[in-house]
Symmetry: C2
Subunit: 284 residues, 2 copies
């Protein structure tokens, strides 16, 4: 069990119900996985099932630091021809999370929504920077928050310093930008402000796959739940996203995300508070 759509929506499902998933799978995708998503309150009417095709498949190996990886196999399969269709009752959606996919598909989803969502968050990757730079540049002007990792931020901006990279990328369209640094935490940039949330130091990292998607799901889930798109609330959302990502890596695939409790999440967020909390009274 995996896939960007599953990771994002499962992670977000701990913050609110009424999540509308748009995606595509092949006939090989187990029906019980869709049912499990439904049980978490995730609507799947927007998930196309192409019975005679195969689901997207990715296989890779992680390096010792669990932060960098080599792709062994990528089979686009059903994603190669994905033409997303927004069901009519999805039209009331207020918050939109666009998972990493062809920018033209992301643009199509934005255009199909008659009322612009309150907040549009977008994930992308180096593949689109290299292969569809014009479409990527276009979608960047249509969104509010860009979420990418440090290597991608450097590639998109041609700057090594993440501070300089963020300035350049914010000038491309997004009002907010989150740079994920894996085990080294995440940075939130907005105008001249920067906020940093560390990753929790863990004894074991079992499988980092999907951690970025779980982060995104927790981030937008928290914002949707609190219905507050201010910078200060986004800082809290980054902490919740980091907490969700820290669960994700503890088991294989999305397994750890299936039966979390609110207590688990509160406890993890408290660990974050303990990790970074200090009070400074300036030295005389």
């Amino acid at each position: 069990m995996g896939g960007t759509g599953a990771y994002i929506t499962l992670s977000a499902s701990y913050f609110l119900k009424n999540i509308n998933l748009v995606s595509v799978v092949g006939g090989d995708f187990p029906k019980e996985h869709l049912e499990m998503l439904n049980e978490h309150g995730i609507k799947t009417e927007g998930v196309q099932i192409k019975e005679n095709e195969k689901s997207f498949f990715w296989k890779g190996v992680y390096h010792l630091d669990m932060n960098t990886r080599d792709t062994l196999v990528t089979e686009l399969n059903v994603l190669a021809t994905f033409d997303p269709q927004i069901p009519e009752h999805y039209q009331e959606s207020e918050f939109l999370m666009l998972g990493n996919l062809t920018p033209s598909v992301q643009i199509s989803v934005i255009r199909q929504l008659r009322k612009r969502p309150k907040l549009i968050v977008l994930d992308t990757m180096n593949f689109w920077m290299q292969n569809t730079p014009d479409e990527l540049a276009q979608v960047l002007t249509m969104i509010d928050v860009l979420v990418i990792n440090d290597a991608e931020a450097r590639e998109l901006s041609h700057e090594y310093s993440l501070v300089k990279a963020a300035k350049k990328i914010l000038a491309m369209g997004p009002k907010y930008m989150i740079i994920k640094k894996g085990e080294h935490g995440a940075l939130l940039f907005h105008e001249n402000n920067v906020f940093f949330a560390p990753a929790l130091p863990l004894e074991e990292v079992f499988d980092p796959t999907g951690a970025g998607d779980c982060f995104a799901g927790g981030f937008i889930g928290y914002i949707a739940k609190t219905n507050d798109i201010s910078y200060n609330n986004m800082k809290r959302a980054v902490v919740y996203g980091s907490a969700m990502a820290s669960f994700c890596v503890e088991k294989f695939g999305a397994d750890r995300l299936i039966d979390l409790t609110q207590e688990d999440i509160d406890e993890r967020v408290n660990d974050f508070v303990d990790l970074v909390q200090f009070d400074i009274s300036l030295v005389e």
Copy 2:
């Protein structure tokens, strides 16, 4: 201008005067550098000057991430035969920072102090782990706080996870351990507690040489100034150490540490507060 002793004491000099430096230099060390240290309130009676020998010399290149480096030249010179002598009026010293050197020299300094300092902080490196493991193991039982970087923590503990590494190393003697991760911040471990302070995201990193020593100087300087060796105060000291390190990298060598003001430091510490500050009210 550089050298562990200079970086540590200059950094600490912004928190207190009455700093007693023990070191050794060759006849090539400019006298005006010692005078500059004196002007910052640093006593140098414990600095031996070997007129017919050369000072320690290091030359290296930093990688693009400014976090890893290759050593091109290391000449121990005067350090090869260094036999530290503690001047009598240094005996009242209450806080001891042992810079990275042969463990036997570090042990000699501890033994020469008739009254044990309130807090002993030690820096070391992989060279001593490989070449003098027994002496290193011995000095670890004599100190309170160990400060090393992530690669060194992994080498000393034979654990990749820093959480596991810290547990093993705390069992070797130190009550507190700080793991420096360069641009990725620093972790403070004590019993089952962990505190994290990020490095400030900077537009430019000019020269990372000495950043670890500036961190150590700010850390022990803040603790000595506040005269409080509690875990909570150490968290604040880690933030002040990180602030001092962030100045260090802005110019070549120790140049940026020569004319800081209290306002510069307060402003930098406020930047740290802004960087990590958030308030969470747990979601219902």
